[in-house]
């Protein structure tokens, strides 16, 4: 088994303007941005991605675009449904971060596994769970992918190898380590991807898992979706060493810093990590810098960041960037775009209808599936 060098695979960009938005750590303290500066950054972003487009086949490119648009439109409708009271509890939207789930999951085989946190709609959809079942789960209906018992934060799809939807910050990280342990135990070359926010990096679960994964060479890829805010607390206010990718050094893992607004950069880095995991059972840490355009959850007024900061990232919207490039490179024309939007609209409409008409779980479901071998209180 080959040992990998401990140093990060790719130097992490330092926080200066030339390296683009991914390097912004501090929230902007001014409310205005120079439009010229913004245009310049956007241009850079486009050019950076264009280099990669030719390396990926057209079918994959279009599937990724389709999935990103599906997640976006699905969640826009979910937000509406939430305000109408059709969705209860907590609802954490993924809007702005779509490139992370879509780019990383585009590298997997159907027999690989993925686990994530409570911000899980995008991952479920990108793993292939039907939008009908995801929406019905948000509605708390029997037709939901967790039979209406998990809700927004606990989407599961065993058939698609999507292992949840976990709502204790960092809780999914040891679980994923165990899934990777099991695949290695069975001598398969399956890979496990686990997602968490940067706030989870401060949890013991993260550190305990990375230590075991490298110690025992487990094929797990730890993906920190660094959206720069743990609820309302900025990274800088919560982490003494805010360079997440560097945390890997403490455990001897390979790591990379990745621009999460560029779906192809995300895919590229994940491909490298997947190869390490499949061939040599080696874990990796990817810090994927991203940004959520919406609040932490539907009830978040978002007073902790400036409009200017949000707009700056919206300018780098991963769907917009990718879409523009696909047009410029002639991968897709206007008609092609319209067709994707239409298809997505149809799917989301159908999901809303399915969720609306799916029945509520039967009252007796309260006491089912507590145990695999039922005990008296369940009978």
């Amino acid at each position: 088994m080959s040992e990998l060098k401990v140093t990060p695979m790719k130097p992490r960009p330092r926080p200066d303007k030339s390296s683009g938005g991914a390097s912004v750590v501090e929230p902007e303290d001014k409310d205005q941005i120079d439009p010229n500066e913004l245009r310049e950054e956007h241009e850079q972003r486009l050019q950076e991605q264009q280099k990669h487009i030719e390396e990926v086949d057209r079918e994959t490119l279009l599937r990724m675009l389709y999935q990103m648009i599906l997640i976006r439109r699905f969640e826009e409708k979910a937000a509406e449904a939430y305000t109408l009271g059709k969705i209860g509890g907590f609802c954490h939207l993924y809007i702005g971060q779509e490139a992370v789930a879509v780019g990383t999951l585009s590298t997997l085989r159907p027999d690989d596994y993925a686990l994530t946190s409570y911000r899980d709609h995008g991952h479920a959809l990108a793993m292939g769970t039907s939008p009908d079942e995801v929406m019905a789960e948000l509605y708390g209906k029997a037709g939901g992918c967790s039979s209406g018992k998990g809700g927004s934060m606990h989407l599961f799809d065993a058939d698609k190898h999507f292992l949840g939807g976990h709502a204790i910050v960092g809780g999914q990280i040891p679980l994923a380590t165990g899934v990777a342990f099991a695949t290695k135990y069975r001598n398969t070359d399956q890979v496990t991807l686990v997602y968490f926010g940067e706030a989870a990096v401060n949890q013991g679960a993260f550190h305990e898992s990375l230590n075991m994964a490298q110690l025992w060479k487990l094929p797990c890829i730890y993906i920190c979706e660094n959206n720069q805010y743990g609820m309302g607390t900025s990274l800088a206010r919560a982490m003494s060493q805010s360079d997440v990718s560097q945390k890997a050094c403490a455990y001897g893992l390979a790591s990379e810093f990745v621009d999460g607004m560029d779906v192809l950069a995300v895919r590229d880095a994940t491909l490298r990590a997947v190869e390490r995991a499949r061939k040599d059972y080696l874990p990796s840490l990817l810090e994927i810098r991203t940004y959520r355009f919406m609040g932490h959850s539907m009830s978040d007024p978002g007073h902790y960041r400036t409009r200017a900061e949000i707009e700056r990232y919206q300018e780098r919207d991963p769907i917009k960037v990718f879409g523009t490039n696909l047009r410029e490179k002639g991968v897709l024309d206007e008609a092609g775009f319209k067709e994707i939007e239409e298809r997505v609209r149809g799917e989301v409409e159908r999901a809303l209808k399915f969720a609306d008409t799916s029945p509520e779980p039967a009252p007796e479901e309260l006491y089912t599936n507590i145990y695999a071998t039922p005990i008296k209180s369940e009978q």
């Binding site: 292992l163 949840g164 679980l175 230590n211 145990y371 695999a372």
Partner: protein, 327 residues
């Protein structure tokens, strides 16, 4: 039938189940090269190799969660806590992950995992190393909680726990590892979860005891016999699912109950059993149910204070005489 120690019985159970099923593995602190802090896993590394008997770093939350993840995709982990006091660090994974996964996924996953190790007091190890945590874990639907009191039960119940498709909290007792008893021969010997055992029959009073308090209750019953009181000793063996029927049947026969336990009384298992007796057999009671629990205080180090903190034969005898209105 061979006479073996509790330690050997547990060891046999793991050895047999590991032979039977490739998916069973043992992970925990010092379980492999050191042969177990209490030697329960003696010889297993040699027999099954380091793929299946794994020394973990001291990282309870981490390896408990790893076990749950491995169980989600079909392995049967046996996770040893050096003592259950250390499981407190892992409660997030036990309670939030293991106990809930099946339910909140709408039944898509089984979590066939056993968390095992010594629970309760040892000898003068003070507050942080002497806790009996069964009431914690028994409080959560989704977990099963097992507490054997004899080598035979220990073996038969652990084998059942490993074969069970749900997460099982298997609570041993450090003071009991050396206790000897007859254990039926044969690899097919199983004790089902959720079935109580009447350890001694009697007609004047019932003692419901578990784990460490079972031998104490039996000794108390012997003494009381000499005093003309016939005592029945019921050992539920599994706290969840609780075989309340057997307890109720005994209450209907004796009409007087003492519940002996090693854990703190407040919100404890004895309180739960007492409430269920009240709900289901109130009319059969000739006296209020009495509890003999550990002190409602952290465990002290000093030998004399430690003795005062724990249930003993004298306190159990006194309680039985009280419910029988003999004093």
């Amino acid at each position: 039938m061979a006479v073996i120690t509790m330690r050997e019985a547990l060891n046999q159970a793991m050895r047999e189940e590991m032979k039977r099923d490739e998916g069973v593995f043992l992970m925990g602190e010092e379980v492999a090269a050191y042969q177990g802090a209490y030697k329960v896993s003696k010889g297993l590394l040699e027999e099954f190799g380091d793929k299946r008997v794994i020394d973990s770093p001291i990282t309870e939350l981490g390896f408990a969660g790893l076990g749950v993840g491995a169980a989600m995709v079909g392995l049967r982990p046996v996770i040893e806590f050096m003592t259950f006091n250390f499981s407190i660090l892992a409660t997030d994974q036990i309670i939030n992950s293991a106990a809930k996964m099946r339910y909140m996924s709408g039944g898509q996953f089984k979590i066939p995992i056993v968390f095992r190790g010594p629970n309760g007091s040892a000898y003068q190890v003070s507050s942080q190393h002497s806790q009996a945590l069964e009431s914690w874990y028994a409080n959560f639907p989704g977990l099963k909680v097992v507490m054997p009191s004899t080598p035979a039960d220990a073996k038969g119940l652990l084998k059942s726990a490993i074969r069970d498709d749900d997460p099982v909290i298997f609570l041993e007792q450090e003071r009991m590892y050396g206790n000897k008893g007859e254990v039926p021969d044969g690899e097919d010997f199983l004790v089902p979860l959720g079935v109580a055992d009447v350890k001694r029959e009697g007609k004047d009073a019932t003692i419901v005891a578990r784990s460490l308090t079972v031998p104490l209750a039996l000794k108390a019953a012997e003494e009381l016999e000499k005093q003309g009181v016939s005592v029945e000793v019921v050992d539920p063996r599994t706290i969840r699912p609780l075989d309340i029927e057997t307890i109720i049947n005994s209450v209907k026969k004796t009409n007087r109950v003492v519940i002996a336990e090693e854990s703190h009384p407040f919100c404890g298992v004895a309180a739960e059993i007492s409430a269920q007796i009240m709900e289901r057999a109130f009319d059969y009671l000739d006296a209020p149910v009495k509890r003999v629990s550990a002190a409602d205080a952290p465990m002290p180090y000093a030998k004399n204070l430690e003795r005062l903190a724990l249930p003993d034969v004298e306190r159990i005898i006194k309680a039985v005489r009280e419910v029988a209105y003999l004093d």
